[in-house]
Every structure is written in C-alpha cells, then in structure tokens.
Symmetry: C2
Subunit: 225 residues, 2 copies
C-alpha cells in the first residue's frame, strides 16, 4: 500500500446495512478508516453493538461518542412516540431532528484532529425514508460550510463529504457490499431491534431492508423476533 | 407582549461575556429565550456555572448538554496542552476543532423540536481570537446548510442564525450589554478560571476581556485569582 492510499478518513458508522457498506467501500479505496458511532439514546441501542461487530470485522478503529439527543426529543427514536408499522405520508416520525448535521459535525471535529480531508456517510436518496438530511442538496451545503468551519478551511485544504450510496437502490447497495465481503448478518437496521439485535420486521427500516434483499434476489440474513 | 414578540429562539450560552450579552439582546427583542449550554469537557468548567447564573438572572430556560469533546482532543481546552499566556501567531491552540459547528447543530436540533426559526450565537469578528468558525462566511454557509437540513427547510420555513455581536468591538459589546442590564460579574471568560470562577488574567480571553472594559472606560467586575 503506497502512502497515497493511507490517507485517514472518518466514516460514520451506525451499525446498519448502509454504513457497513460505506465502511467496506472506504476500506477498499485504501483509506485508513476511523469509524465514528454515536450513542444518542436511540431506541435501538443494539445498533451500537452491531457497529462494534462491523468495525471489528473490517479492522477499523471505532470511537463511540455519548450524546443523549433524548434531551431534545422530537422523534420516535428519541422520545416516547411509537415507531409506525405502516408506510405513511411526508417525513416520518422516526426522523431525528438535525441528526445527520450533528453526526457530520462530530465527524468534522475528529477529521480535523486527525488531519483527515475525507468524511464518509451512508445517506441514500433512492430507497430511503424521506429524511431532509439525506438529500444531496443538504450534503453539498454541508460540505461548503465544513470547508469554512475549520483550520483546514483557512489553510486552503479541501474537505470532501463522500456519499457513495447516494444514488444507489437498496438492492445495488447490498450487491456492492457483498462483492466487498460485507457480512450483513452483523448489521442491524431495525428501529426497534431487541437486545439481541433481532429485527421487528414491520418498521420502515425493516421494510426497506427486506425489499432490498428481495430485489437483489439475495437471501436475507436478518434475524427476526 | 403581543404574539409576534413571543417567538421562541435558541441562544447558545457559554457563560462568557459575549453570549450573556446576546441573551440580553434576544430577550430585549421579545423572544422567548431557550438557552443552550454544552458541557464539552472544557478546562474552564466554571463557565457552566456562570451560564446557570446568567440564564437565571435573565429568566431564560437553560438546557445543558453533555458532550465530551475530549474524546477528540486537539485543543488546549480539551486536551493536555497548556493555555498560552502570551499573544501568538495564527489560529491559537485554544481553538476547539469544529466547536461552533457542533454547538450550532445542537441548537438546530432544539430549534426544530421547539418550532423555533431563530438561533443566536455570540461570535465576533473584531476583538476575537482568529477562530475560523467565528467568521461571517462560516455563519452564512451554516445558515444555508441549516435551511436544507431540517423539516422546516422542506416545508419552506426560514431559519435565521443571528450574530448581533459580529461587527462590534469588545468595548461596544460591553456598553450595549450594560444598557440592557447585563451583570458582567456573573460571567466567566477565562480559559482557565478556577472553581470559584476567578480569572487567570493572562490568557487570550482574559486579555481581550480586560482591554474591552478598559476601552469602554468601565470598571471591570472580573474577579482574578
């Protein structure tokens, strides 16, 4: 591996299917991967254990930050609001206010300390839940801002927010991840997985994941409750 | 007070001179003020007590979020690096990587849950320490991004980041604050204040604060060690 291929990068890792694929992609591109996971008081804390399994399987450093977003609430994932079990209209109640903005800001802090000019996030604008902070225009604006926010910005070094899944269908994400050797049995996508990481099978995230495996004609390794 | 004047706003409150003035300004403009303070593991934790005193004196709700940025380090305020006692060149070691980006992102989350379209931050580009995330171009880019990040952005409601101190000298900030009744004896600016909130008198922040009182020809209520 030459020095060009040893650039550090920060990868936001939730423990779900998407971010596990992103970590595999960044690793495959030769980055030295620093995975960042956030314990924000999410209902599905078993995704944090999944993040540990995934990072360990791909030999990435993992840092887990404690930041309890239940202090603000406003989401089915951080307040006492039921996770819907049927598809609805508009932005779903599982949307966590400003979550990706906060996560990217933590990644930005770590990137600056590491001297990393690359941050990876697994947002997707095809088979997704309609969250405002998964849209390409948000990511572009975030990158603009980030390039003014830090020392690197002042010194003229460019920071890039990589979104390799942005235009992929869930089926394509799964196909590409499998090619890179991702073990999806390690991941947890469900919004209300139990402590053993077994999925409910009925929430939005479970439905999108299951359709992805179906569309890719790949057997779904998800363990259900 | 009419309904137009009862709009909620989130005010980033550090417990220092600048943010106390901003809180007074927002209160004076008729906003219902929700003050946000962040315990990020800063060396000068007595500023958190100062934030409590300031919020209480101005009858603002205060929420203190725990987010330990020592996990990343990279600053004299969050790592084992000495606070400089003389003026230096370039961006000082007291700069905390991505701090204002992170703080604004937490404020954004709370604003979204409150339905607030206004966030106040006490950044200043005149008598300041040269931090990249205090520059007007950063704030403008942040506002752009924030308007794409949230539900409000999707629904077309505009979010504004207010920076009423941006172009004021420290002396002007103090003069305006005193007119609004700010008790600066409650505030702590020092980067290495002791547990009683007494200032060192030699750090960058102490020097800027003391010059401000001097330039304004106002007796400095700061308690020194």
């Amino acid at each position: 591996m030459n020095s060009e291929n040893e650039k550090p990068a920060v990868i936001l890792l939730s423990g779900g299917l998407d971010s596990a694929t992103v970590l595999a992609m960044a690793t495959n591109q030769g980055y030295r991967c620093h995975a960042l996971s956030v314990n924000y008081g999410q209902r599905h804390h078993s995704e944090l254990l999944a993040a540990e399994r995934v990072a360990s399987a791909m030999s990435a450093e993992l840092k887990t930050i404690q930041l309890d977003l239940r202090a603000f609430g406003g989401s089915a994932l951080t307040a006492d609001i039921d996770v819907p079990e049927e598809e609805g209209e508009g932005i779903p109640v599982t949307y966590v206010p400003a979550r990706n903005t906060i996560m990217l800001s933590l990644a930005l802090a770590w990137a600056e300390v590491l001297g990393a000019g690359d941050i990876f996030i697994g947002v997707n604008a095809v088979d997704y839940s309609g969250y405002p902070d998964c849209r390409p225009e948000f990511i572009n604006a975030y990158e603009e801002m980030a390039n003014l926010a830090t020392k690197a910005g002042v010194e003229g070094t460019r920071l890039t927010i990589h979104t390799p899944l942005l235009d992929l269908s869930k089926a394509d994400i799964i196909r590409q991840g499998l090619e890179l050797g991702v073990d999806y049995a390690l991941t947890v996508s469900c919004y209300q997985a139990d402590d053993e990481g077994r999925a409910c099978g009925v929430c939005d995230s479970c439905r999108i994941r299951a359709s992805g495996f179906e569309a890719a004609a790949i057997s779904d390794p998800t363990r259900y409750q």
